[in-house]
């Protein structure tokens, strides 16, 4: 007892060495850490434009982009363009996610489904969807259908791949448990398969969101009469880099917001997981 007291007396004025040892995990979260990188980039851009290192013909200064934004908003129906692009992306993404998830579950749960579905999708995966656009133009014309089909197809693939993967990765012992408990196939799918595949689905969702925007950017260059892509195509013809940057920023904001939405859903829906992140 006295020995213990003696030791603790000695260690009070020196720091415990074990506390100083490096942690193997990433350590504590930094607040607003996500924004640090983008703000540094913006600062470099602003500094470059202010000092004249970045010429306006190459890249417009940030403040000129703000002016161009206001101009587009008041004189060129920027909001209408944004909404029309959003509707296109959302409709395509929705259809793609639905198709991808249904196909993944069917192919993941039945051998017949797998042999019918998995092969074609794996083959399709090696053909870039954007390379199919000429074919879709022949089938659907250059109107809205072609655009939505392209976006749906490009976002379906990651959903399928990751959901299928998550589904196949579910521990077989849970199926054994379900058998001893005596539940039917429907309940098994609802309580074991779907929640077990959810992490994979949400990962696929993050890829799908980005893919759908990629699809959007490309299809909007084909004969669009409205939308952010239409605005960029016009600006390209008149050499307005400021308007092009406005369009790019809007695409970026779309992508960021969509990704944030998926990540927040992930955090809520996957609260049962303990990961390095938390």
């Amino acid at each position: 007892m006295t020995a213990t007291l003696h030791v603790s007396e000695r260690t009070t004025d020196t720091t415990d060495r074990r506390v100083l040892r490096r942690r193997l995990g990433p350590g504590r979260r930094i607040r607003f850490s996500f924004w640090i990188g983008p703000i540094v980039l913006l600062a470099v851009w602003a500094a470059g434009s202010a000092t004249g290192l970045i010429k306006p013909a190459i890249l417009t200064a940030p403040w000129d982009v703000v002016t161009a934004f206001q101009e587009q908003w008041t004189d060129h129906d920027l909001l209408g363009n944004i909404l029309s692009s959003l509707a296109r992306a959302a409709l395509g993404l929705g259809l793609g996610v639905l198709a991808g998830a249904v196909l993944a579950v069917v192919s993941g749960l039945s051998r017949a489904g797998e042999s019918l579905i998995d092969g074609p999708i794996q083959i399709k995966r090696s053909v870039p969807t954007l390379a199919l656009i000429p074919l879709f133009i022949a089938w659907f014309g250059i109107g809205q259908e072609m655009k939505i089909v392209t976006i749906a197809l490009i976002s379906m693939v990651p959903i399928y791949v990751h959901t299928h993967n998550g589904l196949r990765g579910i521990d077989g012992r849970y199926a054994e448990l379900a058998e001893t408990i005596g539940i039917g196939r429907g309940e098994f799918v609802r309580h074991v398969v779907l929640p077990g595949a959810l992490p994979g689905f949400l990962l696929g969702m993050r890829f799908a969101v980005t893919s759908s925007l990629l699809g959007l950017v490309v299809v909007e260059q084909y004969n669009a009469t409205s939308g952010v892509g239409h605005m960029i195509t016009l600006a390209e013809q008149y050499g307005q880099t400021d308007v092009i940057v406005v369009g790019l920023v809007i695409y970026g904001v779309f992508g960021y917001l969509a990704d944030t939405a998926v990540r927040l859903t992930e955090r809520r829906a996957l609260a049962w997981r303990r990961t390095l992140d938390t």
């Binding site: 012992r173 408990i181 074991v192």
Partner: protein, 246 residues
């Protein structure tokens, strides 16, 4: 379960006759095994690794569809299994795990009662990862008990727990079995655990029952000379020599 009126002996809860099971290349694992377990009887099944303990348990649980074999098995309608791992669904909170697959409007209430019985009231909304190994295994016990099984099959349920937790779990399991009176088949490799818990200890060897002894100790204490005697006998049967035990 129904005892024929006029007969003094109740029908056994479990009746196994001439049970054969084999995995393709390795020859027979169970070779004509016979076993009866009376309603409410607690049987511990010991044996060295690979003697077919788990194969027998899985046969009784109906989990051995891919295994070759034949023989007769009669088990009650309500069978519950406790696995070595707690096997809680990580994406369900504690209470939904307990009542998983349970039907009826009062399922939640029964689940809460079962959790209280294993000493986990107040943890209904915890995620499985937030519980210790012992607590997880108690949840899995609650999940089994809430189904009011006539036969409880347990495959080394305390194998992964530390020694202190295991002692507490023994007392809990004994108490729960005395209250609910299911027939129990507990697979274990721990002779002390078998004697501490069971009414009867059987030992498998070569795919048949080699030893079948009744544990009629009034005090299940290690200081009881008869406990030591039984322990020595069973260890001997398992081929653990006097020298190994030193």
């Amino acid at each position: 379960m129904a005892a024929d009126p006029g007969h003094l002996i109740t029908a056994p809860a479990v009746r196994v006759r001439n049970l054969h099971r084999s995995f393709s290349r390795n020859g027979g694992v169970l070779n004509g095994l016979d076993l009866d377990i009376a309603p409410g009887e607690f049987v511990a099944l010991i044996g060295r690794s690979g003697t077919g303990k788990s194969t027998l348990l899985r046969a009784l649980a109906g989990l051995d569809r891919d295994v070759e074999g034949y023989g007769q098995i009669t088990v009650p309608g309500a069978v519950s299994v406790v696995f070595q791992d707690s096997r809680l669904l990580p994406w369900k909170r504690v209470l939904p795990n307990v009542v998983f697959g349970l039907r009826g409007a009062d399922a939640d209430r029964r689940g809460r009662d079962a959790l209280a019985e294993v000493g986990l009231e107040g943890r209904e909304r915890a995620w499985p990862y937030q519980l210790s190994g012992g607590e997880q295994q108690r949840v899995s016990l609650a999940r089994s008990l809430v189904r009011e099984p006539q036969l409880l099959l347990a495959d080394e349920p305390f194998g992964a727990l530390d020694a202190l937790t295991r002692i507490r779990m023994h007392a809990l399991l004994r108490k729960l079995c005395e209250r609910h009176r299911p027939a129990v088949l507990l697979v274990t490799h721990d002779v002390d655990e078998a004697i501490a818990l069971a009414d009867r200890v059987i030992q498998l060897d070569d795919g048949v029952v080699r030893t079948d002894v009744r544990v009629d100790l009034t005090r299940r204490s290690r200081h009881d000379p008869r406990f030591a005697e039984l322990r020595a006998f069973l260890l001997d049967e398992l081929g653990v020599t006097e020298e190994d035990r030193r």
